[in-house]
């Protein structure tokens, strides 16, 4: 399985993402610049965190019009797994690949620490290696992670079981219903504020994020490799 790590001007978690997938997971990975014309050769797309285009106007608002995003939309329609972390999540929201929007954290502070997440849905291609209701430790680092959607969208998210991760215990940013990560209705696009790629080795303080990447590969093998 071959992953693309999309690099925008201002991405700063691209190297962490590459390391997680290439070195810790043992899959193939390549950096792909934001003006790339095609993502056809990749099986999974990773949108890393950072401050694409300086987060000018709104987080993700400018990156969403990058050339490569047309290809990301195409890959989403084709059913390929697409993971957006932090700024990547914000870009997926701005692109309309996921519903809702981000507001400033309710504390107005940039928060950088490890938090507890609860796995609300372990029946997605991103979370199948976790137990339902498992509590995991994953770092967050953001100033705008205060997820918002209107009541109609929230009802849809709940009905379709699209809320994958919630903050366990204290809500760090004020997000609606403690939401930390959601998938699209089809289940192949996940956006989350916490950084699983920063929790892939005990040396880094924890490896709870690795199962997320293992889930993606497991699903892909079952779908694409004979006698898997």
């Amino acid at each position: 399985m071959k992953f693309a790590v999309i690099v925008f001007p201002g991405s700063n978690c691209d190297i962490d993402m590459y390391h997680a997938v290439k070195d810790e997971l043992g899959a193939e990975a390549e950096y792909v610049w934001h003006d790339a014309e095609s993502l056809d050769e990749y099986d999974g797309i990773l949108l890393p965190g950072g401050f694409s285009y300086g987060d000018y106007l709104r987080s993700g608002a400018v990156a969403r019009f990058s050339n490569v995003m047309k290809e990301v939309v195409k890959a989403a329609e084709a059913g390929k797994p697409i993971l957006g972390v932090c700024n990547g999540f914000q870009i997926l929201l701005e692109a309309g690949l996921l519903p809702g929007a981000m507001r400033r954290n309710d504390s107005l502070k940039f928060i950088c620490r490890t938090v507890e997440l609860r796995v609300e849905n372990n029946e997605t291609m991103f979370s199948s290696a976790y137990e339902k209701d498992e509590v995991i430790n994953i770092p967050i680092a953001h100033g705008e992670g205060n997820y918002y959607c209107d009541e109609a969208v929230l009802a849809e998210l709940k009905k379709n079981n699209q809320i994958v991760f919630t903050y366990n215990g204290t809500n760090p940013n004020g997000s609606l219903e403690n939401i930390a990560g959601i998938v699209n209705e089809k289940g192949n696009v996940l956006g989350m504020m916490p950084h699983p790629e920063r929790a892939v080795d005990e040396l880094l303080g924890g490896a709870d994020g690795l199962k997320l990447f293992q889930s993606i590969v497991k699903q892909w093998r079952e779908a694409h490799v004979v006698n898997a």
């Binding site: 701005e94 507001r103 309710d106 504390s107 107005l108 918002y148 959607c149 004020g174």
Partner: protein, 84 residues
Amino acid sequence: MYKVKVFVTLRESVLDPQGTVVKNSLHSMNYSEVSDVRIGKYMELIVDKSDRPVEEAVKEMCERLLANVVIEDYRFEIEEAVAQ
């Protein structure tokens, strides 16, 4: 040429964390008459005349980029810009 003034604010139904902090600060300075503060963005666009009505073009710019209509409202004013 037109000068277009665009105002973008969080929707009324969306809690504005910055506005809340500024309101509390004003209250602590004894401006108790302030009942609400909404913080937004102000943008000035200089737009060349074209065959397309400027209102239509600016509305499209607001919907596609300048505002995120999931959480923000926008309004704009169009002025004839005086040639320099």
